[in-house]
Symmetry: C2
Subunit: 340 residues, 2 copies
């Protein structure tokens, strides 16, 4: 025991430089993005740096859809809401012949793809309200542990980006509070964020419906979800919600689309944008840099130009990430990268 | 160094029972309240207990006014708002002859005391909005470090309750996340909560006005406070706001008035209420137990009866606390207690 203690002390007093540090971001290729993240962490956590940030103000925010997990061909939460329509109509038969529920029930994929944003908002409001918070959470947990993405035939939570999981871990190990700041529903994301990202419920900032306090038949207190948006956590709503829930400006923020613009602008240190430019391994969409246009996670040329102008980092999935998903073996991914 | 390491290891392996534990709550007299708090902490942090709570779900919530600091004769935030009226009218002269601003400007204490709740809400909305979040924070910081309570001639932050500061510290040392859940303004309380209670901005849940994202003249992003309440953190609004910001039910909660009823009901472990029954050392009001009635922090007989029925702990300031304020010397307070 004595000799262990001595060894421990020697290790503690040894120069940190003498110990080989493992790469905190092994799924990132060496390049401007990886270097910027590592330099930022060193710069804000080294007490002798002019950019040192005290531990209690180290705030990191991550958009979710398209930033930490796949958002194409459709936002995962939307797939969940569409999947819930049959159960909703079973409970409320009067909706069977009412649009947009009628179209969703028809199963006609072409017609469903043509539903407008207000149509989809109606589906979301109806399928995400009218139950208690606990009931919705249980429903999401059941769905998210069984429903599979059509392309990979994997659970949606397996389609998280390994490089981003590494950044979250690296930032937490460096004293940062890691928050998800998503346009997705706060209660939806809370149902799996802890297990998937290590992000607890109070670190999920999302679009939030109002809830109403009341009592179950047995007198127990319950919170019922209302079909009314209280916090719209997108665009300018992101910094507004960050103020409400976090109360400090982020030092570092990650996004991937125009909905993240204001959050990145509100961030005091380093702002980064994921560019989906890898159709082979994931998807390619912009329309920045001539990539195909999309309504799901739009990354415009104007946003790209603004990023360049302001020194925000654009992360190329194709060039910056040697591995995209946790289920890919690191070695194999590197190999296939080299083979291209 | 070797001998220090050995001593350290011996201390680490020594039985914890052999080491005399300092009293975590020295300002509390031995009694049911102190015993309940200590038993609750042991019961929820001992891994072998059937009531063990994992660290990540240890949530403690504290009302502020009347629970962690003095709220009589008037809520501190209201004093701040009334104090700000001259500056507001200087900027908006059109308000000079408009009620309730005219009455506030008159300085007529009897007339000001008669202002209705809607009048006071008008004053609050006008004095807490129209500036950036940073401007309000700076204004609150300036005021809270200079304005003094009339009775004690102390800063308001000196009129916090030492026994509650001890409980907060004790809970944090036991792995609890300590939140303030107040009917007071979130931005108002955030301006001093960190220094006063050790509670950082993301742990202050309060009544929150909407904010609007925009840009200053130099192009820098700013959040401007709107005269519109987004979250009304009182009564049923407390559990609703706890869900929005924290996302887990509290295990332990402290309040002192009817506005805290639902939060205490929503709490899964231990609920406690401070009863102001010490006119000599602080104030006495209820109307529970025949204490004088009040509109500021009402503790009704119905609330008292509910507490008894549900096993909520009623803390008597007179009997349970041997010291009320941090500026009182512990020895002297005990002495004066014995002398009564």
């Amino acid at each position: 025991m004595k000799s262990f203690a001595v060894t421990l002390l020697i290790a503690l007093v040894a120069s940190p430089a003498a110990v080989a540090q493992p790469d905190p971001l092994p799924s990132w290729n060496d390049g401007a993005a990886k270097q910027a993240i590592i330099a930022f962490v060193h710069d804000t956590t080294d007490a002798s740096s002019p950019h040192f940030v005290p531990r209690e103000s180290r705030i990191a925010t991550f958009d979710q859809d398209g930033t930490t997990w796949v958002e194409h061909p459709n936002y995962t939460q939307l797939v969940f809401c569409l999947d819930r329509v049959p159960a909703l109509v079973a409970k409320h038969p009067e909706l069977r012949d009412v649009e947009p529920f009628k179209t969703v029930l028809s199963g006609d994929k072409a017609a469903i793809a043509k539903l407008t944003k207000p149509d989809l908002e109606k589906v979301a409001a109806a399928t995400l309200s009218g139950m208690t918070v606990e009931q919705l959470t249980a429903e999401v947990k059941r769905w998210i542990t069984t429903a599979k993405d059509a392309r990979w035939q994997k659970l949606y939570t397996q389609l998280t980006y390994e490089p981003m999981l590494e950044v979250m871990k690296y930032l937490r190990a460096s004293g940062y509070q890691v928050y998800i700041v998503t346009g997705g529903g706060q209660d939806f994301v809370r149902a799996y964020a802890w297990g998937t990202y290590g992000v607890p419920p109070d670190h999920v900032v999302g679009t939030a419906g109002a809830v109403t306090y009341g009592y179950a038949k047995d007198g127990q207190p319950i919170l019922t979800k209302d079909p009314k948006v209280l916090v719209n956590d997108d665009n300018a709503g992101k910094p507004e919600a960050i103020h409400l829930v976090i109360g400090q400006r982020p030092q570092i923020a990650f996004g991937n689309s125009t909905g993240d613009r204001q959050m990145l602008e509100y961030t005091t240190g380093l702002s980064l944008l994921v560019l989906h430019d890898d159709a082979r391994r994931e998807y390619a969409y912009g329309p920045a840099l001539g990539l195909p246009d999309t309504k799901v996670g739009t990354f415009t040329q104007a946003l790209y130009d603004e990023a360049r102008r302001k020194g925000w980092i654009v992360i190329s999935m194709k060039s910056d990430w040697n591995r995209i998903f946790p289920f890919e073996e690191p070695g194999r991914a590197r190999l296939s990268e080299r083979q291209r």
